[in-house]
Amino acid sequence: MDKTLERRIKEAPKLPRVYFDHAATTAPGQEVTKLLLSVLRDNYGNPSSFYKEGHQAARILEESRASIAGGLGVLPEEIFFTSCGTESDNWAIKGAARARQGRGRHLITSTIEHHAVLHTMEALEKEGFEVTYLEVDDQGLIDPRTVQAAIRPDTTLVSVMMANNEIGTLEPIDEIGAICRKANVIFHSDAVQALGALPVQPRDLNCDLMSFSGHKLYAPKGIGLLYKRKGLRIERLLDGGAQERRQRGGTENVAYAAAFAKAFELSLAGMESESKRQVGLRDRLIKAVIESVPHTKLNGHPDKRLPNNANFSFEFIEGESILLLLDSLGYACSSGSACTSASLDPSHVLLAIGMPAEIAHGSLRVTIGRETGEEEIDRFLVDIPLVIERLREMSPLYADYNKGKLKALIPPQGGMDVKMKGGYGLE
């Protein structure tokens, strides 16, 4: 067994943890939790109530809404608070599809959407809707022309994400939105991963509906947003009280709304420089990992990608075991491996970009954040080759490869854009 790896595992508990899973969730910032706490303590009133405490809460809620609307370049009445990105996706898609079913029951989305979109589409299929799933290329890009080609007279809604959560690819949603607008089809975009990382201006992007989630941008888990273009009518998902302009019942989570607004404000303030900084770290990481670990490829697009996202495939090994070793070395990362998903399927995104299942199982997603510095990258670059080497040592596939019994799917030198055709042909 490799002595260096053992030593580093032993030393890891003395070092700070390295959180490399910002695409999964982020730690709420201090300013954000401070504000949140103050709202919980001093502004606990029900915003619908008719007295001082209620008015105060309502004011905070509306100021938060206005501030977010300002950042998105939209009207406050176009912003609706929800409980998460998933709710926003469900509401937007079910709400629009059901509201327009008199005109048609055909919907369009892509194969690489988040489950909040895909499973919503499947639920609608059970209701009798027909859904076209657009394919993506091997870097995860959707060709807007395929959207154009898929639109039919009975198409009522297109939903394409702004940025993919696994491979980080940025989609040309402005072009897709323009096509939809021309065709008089509603366009929804899941921008959960984009908000806080990239400028998001629903109007410029030709979006009618857009989903966001606070916990991806250093606000807490459990608050989301739906942008709904003024005048667009969709069905409610949560029927109830008169909250949120009668569009979403439920006593408002004022504290989290304020936290979202604050987190968004902070993200906007530093966005340009932070984005540049993260792209620098990301690109250094990608280059160094591919160079130092043989048979490694980058997944997703080399530069049309989220500033914080690096996604690798390491041949011959499985992703969960990578995560386990990394965890014991102090890193929190994620994988598209079936074994780390509660669903036990390998990532539908990796399969959708044409990756053979045997390679998809060996993926690793590293998503950095605003606390990430050069030190974390340096440290990671020491550890990752040890981890991969150790697991390959154990791998019967790697042994077969070394014995010449198996042809590698990723060449030794790896790369940013390795094309793969088919798997090992073993069954």
């Binding site: 969960e320 070793l325 079936a338 074994c339 154990m394 019967p396 042994a399 073993l426």
Partner: protein, 142 residues
């Protein structure tokens, strides 16, 4: 989904990892599309398993169950080894998360695949033994 200390220990310090070049029996189960392959090499003397080594492509529990399985069978007779079930492997690891039980099935299968080869090569397959290889017909993923 969290692993027991024991699973983690076997994952981090796998016992009997490697290959036996002159193995008396060898079995490989699983497939890379499903995300796990386990190869088990056995050295057998007088029907006693004197050494076992594994190589595994798979998740933490696949590696830990491989490792534990080798520990459980070394020193046992082949017939005793045949009686080691996936539950026994999982229990020896202080349990596995529910969604991971299939990995322990894989370990039982790998041992049996090797033993099957051994019995067949040595013309020792009997109906009673044969009955214990049923699990090899099973798909480990359901």
């Amino acid at each position: 989904m969290e692993y027991s200390e024991k699973v983690l220990d076997h994952f981090m310090k796998p016992r009997n990892m490697g290959e036996i070049p002159d193995a008396d029996a060898s079995g490989t189960v699983g497939n890379p599309i499903c995300g796990d392959i386990m190869k088990m090499d056995l050295k057998i003397e007088n029907n006693i398993i004197v050494d076992a080594k594994f190589k595994t492509f798979g998740c933490g529990s696949a590696i830990a169950t491989s490792s534990m399985a080798t520990e459980l069978i070394i020193g046992k007779t082949t017939d005793e080894a045949l009686d080691i079930t996936n539950q026994a492997v999982a229990e020896a690891l202080d349990g596995l998360p529910k969604v991971k039980m299939h990995c322990s099935v894989l370990a039982e299968q790998a041992v049996k695949k090797a033993l099957e080869q051994y019995y067949l090569n040595h013309d020792m397959m009997t109906p009673e033994r044969q009955a214990k290889f049923e699990i090899l017909g099973q798909n480990e993923h359901d």
